[in-house]
Symmetry: C2
Subunit: 351 residues, 2 copies
């Protein structure tokens, strides 16, 4: 452990600052890129770590942290004037924490900046043990979104071989994995996304049985009926709103809906009304909201399962990589317009 000592180098620390609480769709101009400096040391007796951030993750839930505190959902609101926070992959530069030493790699919540001082918290920070996979994967496949897909599909959906599975936002960080997990279980899997390029990815890269571009469908319920003539057993919900309404009329008896996100609603002042909820009774549907942090006790089991799948090529994974912290706001904002193709990552530094 080194908590400082003689090493008092001061370096530049670029940061992505939230200017003010956001309402409606976030814009690039909601953020400032500032440059301050940071001293590469920790105070005597600190239990924190000083990390150099390598990769940052753009995740839909971050929208809920941009609003005013009262309007926020699962996570605490960001503080205007401060760097925003998110999942990242980082290298430990200095450590006052007994579990981390200089040079260790970590994934977890850090600031959107070149260097962060964080106090590692279980289920928010994880030491990276397997480094023979691309490190950026720990922002997605091997990090929070991967665990979300794993827990959401295996623990929440109660899937059975031969069932029909529908995934919305299916080419995103979570959706692409849910679809592949479902195929591995022997389910019939259909995904939707918002462009031809993404639909091609679903069919040709991720092995979905079918896929459609929701932006080209006049009638979402009819599109789902076409893809699922015998109905949907499992819906992995990432979008909410009109899509949920269309799904409800196509669900089968005893169907399950795992609610991971509702990205179509996050930027609306008033959320869309969902009208077909009486299907919950008629079809005895179970709708279960979940959050990944309730399932992190299964993280090592997840890695044991998924790392061999990656090495054997059984799981495909697509990232959309933005180069440089300056590109962070654009990449993050783009998420809410579906601009990313695959998991959106921001590279701060490669080493």
């Amino acid at each position: 452990m080194s908590t400082g000592g003689d090493d008092r180098a001061t370096v530049r620390n670029k940061q992505v600052i939230l200017k003010d609480y956001v309402s409606g769709f976030p814009k690039e101009t909601d953020f400032d890129i500032t440059t301050s400096t940071v001293e590469l040391k920790l105070p005597e007796g600190s239990k924190s770590v000083l990390v150099k951030n390598l990769y940052l993750s753009c995740d839909p839930y971050m929208r809920s942290r941009m609003g005013k505190p009262a309007a926020s959902g699962l996570a605490q609101a960001y503080t205007p004037g401060k760097p925003i926070l998110g999942f990242g992959v980082s290298r430990v530069i200095k450590s006052g924490h007994p579990d981390y030493k200089e040079g260790d790699l970590m994934w977890g919540v850090v600031g959107w900046e070149e260097y962060s001082v964080v106090t590692p918290i279980p289920d928010m920070h994880f030491k990276i043990q397997n480094t023979d996979v691309p490190l950026s994967y720990y922002t997605g496949l091997l990090g929070m979104p991967g665990m979300t897909a794993y827990a959401g599909f295996y623990e929440v959906c109660s899937p059975k071989k031969g069932e029909t599975v529908y995934v919305s936002a299916a080419s995103g960080a979570v959706g692409q994995l849910v679809g592949q997990f479902a195929k591995m279980m022997g389910c019939y899997v259909v995904g939707s996304a918002g462009s031809k390029e993404k639909v091609d990815l679903l069919k040709n890269k991720f092995g979905f049985d079918d896929a459609f571009n929701y932006k080209e469908e006049q009638d979402l319920a009819a599109a789902l009926k076409r893809c699922f003539p015998k109905g949907i057993d499992i819906y992995f919900e990432n979008v909410g709103g009109k899509m949920l309404d269309a799904v409800l009329v196509n669900m089968n008896v005893h169907g399950r809906i795992a609610v991971c996100g509702m990205i179509s609603q996050y930027n609306l002042e008033n959320h869309e009304g969902v009208h077909n909820l009486s299907n919950i009774i008629y079809k005895r549907i179970r709708i279960q909201g979940f959050a990944v942090f309730d399932y992190y006790d299964k993280y090592s089991k997840f890695l044991e399962f998924v790392i061999p799948c990656i090495k054997e090529g059984k799981i495909a994974y697509v990232e959309d990589v933005a180069e440089g912290l300056e590109k962070g706001p654009e990449a993050l904002v783009g998420l809410f317009h579906g601009k990313n193709v695959g998991k959106q990552v921001v590279v701060v530094a490669r080493e």
Copy 2:
């Protein structure tokens, strides 16, 4: 067994006929009372029973059977020109079925008429073994609504001692029992209903901790906040629409919503939109639709539990009794305007 023989008496058979498929609120004029005759015999070799109907049950789900077949939900549409069907208590007059003999009492699905010929079907017809309780209770507390409350609360809500429970339509056949089951488990229980008389019943007869008249509340979410300052752990959903929206913002993390019915929506051409579904994610809520017929294997266990409760006065039960089949349409239609106080029963004959 007697399937006819010499006994060829012909008797009057009054019937409640559905004139045509119903849209919007059902009206008394949607039904005709007709008088035909029935021969008190069964064809040779019949496996059916001829029953004299004593008590008929008015249940909200019956609305879904009045609409056109495509618009129907859980149960099959009624046939215009024929008697409507519902749960009732009946005495067997003739039997071709090995499980029933003349004089047996039965509860289950029969026509709204004085005499019905039915083929007993497991989980739709049950022989009444305990006759030292009022027979009409088998349309409610000891029949389908009782089992609905029992399965819905104990099996679907996953209740724990000390949790907070909210029941809508709380003075109805199912709600009054759910509230009492929840109290027996040591929960804090609040109910809502649509009149002062019903609210008084909830507080003074059924032992709810608190109750409110939803028609007198300007802001349902505020009313629930007042009754549940620490939030709702369990919601037993009978009404849907605006009430569900108000509940969602008051639910606690890991809350459960058992969806038994949505009576506020059944008569609307377009169901109300529910806007606060993103709380499902933020609070990791489970919403579970259920139907009683998935739980009838627990019926004898239920009777073992509930009959002693009735005899020891641990469970209160209120019926709203309409005298005579002619009063059936009025009683049934009244259900959708909340006119009934307690379980709505129609007496066809007392013996």
